[in-house]
Amino acid sequence: MAAPTDNTPNAAAEARRQQRLEELCAALIRAQSAQAEVRYRGHRLEWRGKAYPLRAPHLQLDAQQDDWGSCRGVADAIALRLRHHDPELHRHWLPTPPVARLVFELLEQLRVESLVPAHHPGSRRNLHYRFSAWSNRFLASGQTESHLGLLLFTLSMMSWVQLGGGPIDEGTEHLIESTRMFLLREIGQPFGRIRRCREDQAAFAEQALAIALSVNELVADLQQQLAGNEQDQDALEEVGNGFGLLLDFDGDGDQAGSQAGGASPRNSDGEAAYRIFTGRYDKEWQAARKVRPELLERLRRQLDQRIREQGLNLNGLTKKLRRLLARPHQDGWRFGEEEGRLDGRRLSTLVTSHADRRVFKQPREEWRANAAVTILVDNSGSMRPHMEHIAMLIDLLVQGLERTGARTEVLGFTTGHWNGGQPLKDWQRRGWPANPGRLNERCHLVYKNSDTPWRRARRSLAALLKSDLFREGLDGEALLWAEQRLLAEHVNERILLVISDGCPMDTATRQSNADDILDAHLMAVADRIDRDPRIRLCALGVGLDLSRYYRHNQLLDLEHSPDNRIFDEILALITRAMRG
């Protein structure tokens, strides 16, 4: 069941674009910083599984206003920080007063940016572009009109120039001139030294700390002077906003313990803490049995018709899947070879015509996938409008995979009732005990199991179109179920592909437990499976970014009928998951 999101086509396209940009930025950061564990999760940057804080004001991007040039600049800036910055050392020097911290962070960021290598002139330009864009925006916001705003802005510009940032335009130069003279009187000495020691973080931190503490004092004096003036108090707050609310240091990713995307723990604790009130009413159905045979026949014809009209290229898909999954296997022999092992059946040839050397056999290599792929479909109510397209995708994927020799399984999950069924009644009868855990009937559907070939599962797959079975969704439990089934397969490669359009949802459970019980469970389960080398987990989000839950995810655009491009996206996703 989807969280309330704007599902208009434009919003979906925008979300896809956003996801692509984030992926590209993360990949760039990974390459430039040589740190593989950088990714975006729910639009927030993570490093080694923890939120990565962006504490310098010019690193705060506004998705609505900032362009791709700014994104590039920020990505390069973050990469440089990851490369040239020692968080341990940084923490050692970091001052406590908020303003001092802000200045110290800013100086440190500008320091690492000044270390951009000479052979990366493009990065240098991007950094310059981003800083200019930020300073122009700050100027335009009118925040330099307050004393504090002007002071911090002047300091930013001075430090930027001092650390090799670039020339300031005349208007800005004029604006900050007098504040700069004033500041230089206060911080002149350490400020003069920062350029020389920018390659030595510790030496730099010493100077930066002196600057930060002086500025902190200046600001404190200023605040005291303005204490009675309400207008200036407002201005102070506004400048805080302009600097990206950096005075608030919650979620400090350098220190352990911060979590991306919410308050819930994402480790196995979340999984262990999850409770089920009663599993007595849980069901596992063969999907085809839930649909009348005549109807199933009709649905299948409908699906075939749609696939034919769509002109999807099954052969092309198979070829690409084979390239991705198939590995060489020894399979039988090639006969009539000129060398190899002697072929007993051709001994007579050896006698009758000894010039003929084609009496050998050699092992034959065949490329076949030794893999199992499970497709787990969210059967929540909000998926109904997309099911026709999804059924087409699944049908073709299953066929393509089967042709490469892979085993495939198609599973679905929903709940027995809307808003809790029998378990809810049981709970009420028992007097509403606190924190009961999951309060709905879990309902798992098998559309195709791995022992049934596509030919025999054709009709059953059409049951995907019978969407009146679709209710709510318990994603975490479904993932566990699919994981168990997949682990029972004796293959080299196991891929679990989830297709979903939102977060787990069961109203009864949500209302009677902690708000995020289902979310936390899904995150914990997905996180654990993701770290399990036996399974490659990836997810297709139908109009919703699933990066909060799944490391390898891809937003699908199902507003238009699926075309061959969609398969390329799915294959790219699986490729990423397989590379780990």
Partner: protein
């Protein structure tokens, strides 16, 4: 052609002098350059550790296996050491088509005085074993299992080699040396980059006395090599250009290590790029022709971004343009 049979290394030369390495070690050197001795490439940069490993192979008759990603110059490294020792060298590429018979030898039918007779034609292994030759097996981990067992026998230092169908036992020449290069450390295709490589039998791996790893060179060395290959860039401007090209290659390697790219730029590709640049006089076009077109279509926007970082120039790439159109 004089046969090598009776040649041998006749004098010792200090390593310091030959390879500019700061250690007291003497290596045996041949007096004459046979036609099997590789040509000296004066621009070649030696990796000190790997050079030492190879020299140990030549001096002390150790079996040396060099491992590294493609294009790091593993075989060339051995050849260039041999070239400076005047040591004859033979390279055999163990692709999947080399069979046991190719290595050992087989009976062939030849015409002699108008009559068909069968004669045993010696394979490369017995030939090399009898001579003071360094035999290099390239792509060692791509060899077929039956081939591997032939090699296993000669991996033993004093391993005598039996030609079964000839009733012959070959005692190796005291100056016969054996080297191999491989993309993996005998673990098979883990990254998905080297299909066709095999897991090497542990007994085989044990028989290699020295396993050395060759990584990509430090950037200045790499720049120097490319300048050496394409002399037109042998000035300050050329250095700047090649430095940026190497920077792109470094990003592709980091991208490959992080799992974002499925291909990477080897020094070989870099040299091709520099050469193509000389032809087309257009760095972006040469880049497209030498590397970008080899990349998966989905990875091209990322490669275009790498290019932008290093050249401060947009690579005209349709998908990248789609992204920039905000």
């Amino acid at each position: 052609m004089t046969d090598l049979l009776h040649d041998h290394p006749s004098r010792l030369r200090p390593v310091r002098e030959l390879f500019n390495l700061d250690i007291d070690m003497q290596v045996p050197v041949f007096e004459h350059r046979d036609e099997h001795v590789p040509d000296i490439d004066p621009s070649y940069c030696f990796n000190p550790d790997v050079t030492l490993a190879i020299l140990a192979g030549f001096t002390r008759n150790r079996r040396v296996l060099l491992q590294g990603l493609h294009g790091t110059g593993k075989s060339t490294h051995i050849e260039q050491v041999a070239a400076r020792l005047n040591w004859p060298c033979v390279r055999v590429n163990l692709d999947g088509h080399i069979s046991r018979l190719d290595l050992v030898g087989k009976d062939t039918i030849v015409l002699e005085e108008g009559k068909q007779i069968t004669r045993f034609q010696e394979g490369i292994v017995p030939w090399a074993l009898r001579r003071p030759v360094a035999l290099i097996f390239d792509e060692f981990d791509a060899g077929r299992p039956d081939v591997m067992f032939v090699i296993q026998r000669i991996l033993e230092q004093d391993g005598k080699f039996t030609l079964l169908d000839q009733n012959q036992v070959i005692t190796p020449n005291p100056h016969f040396r054996l080297f191999a290069t491989a993309n993996t450390v005998g673990l098979g295709n883990i990254t998905g980059l080297y299909h066709g490589t095999q897991q090497i039998n542990q007994a085989q791996m044990d028989r290699w006395n020295i396993v050395a790893k060759l990584d990509y060179l430090p950037r200045e060395d790499e720049i120097r090599i490319i300048q050496g290959k394409v002399p037109r860039y042998n000035d300050t401007r050329g250095h700047e250009l090649i430095s940026r090209m190497v920077a792109v290659a470094e990003l592709t390697r980091a991208g490959f290590a992080a799992g974002d790219l499925s291909t990477l730029m080897s020094p070989r590709t870099l040299i091709a790029w520099a050469e193509n640049n000389e032809i087309f006089n257009d760095t972006a076009l040469a880049f497209r022709l030498s590397f970008l077109n080899k990349c998966d279509e989905g990875e091209r926007p990322l490669v275009a971004e790498y290019y932008q970082r290093c050249f401060d120039q947009e690579l005209p790439e349709p998908q990248a343009l789609q992204l920039t159109a905000v």
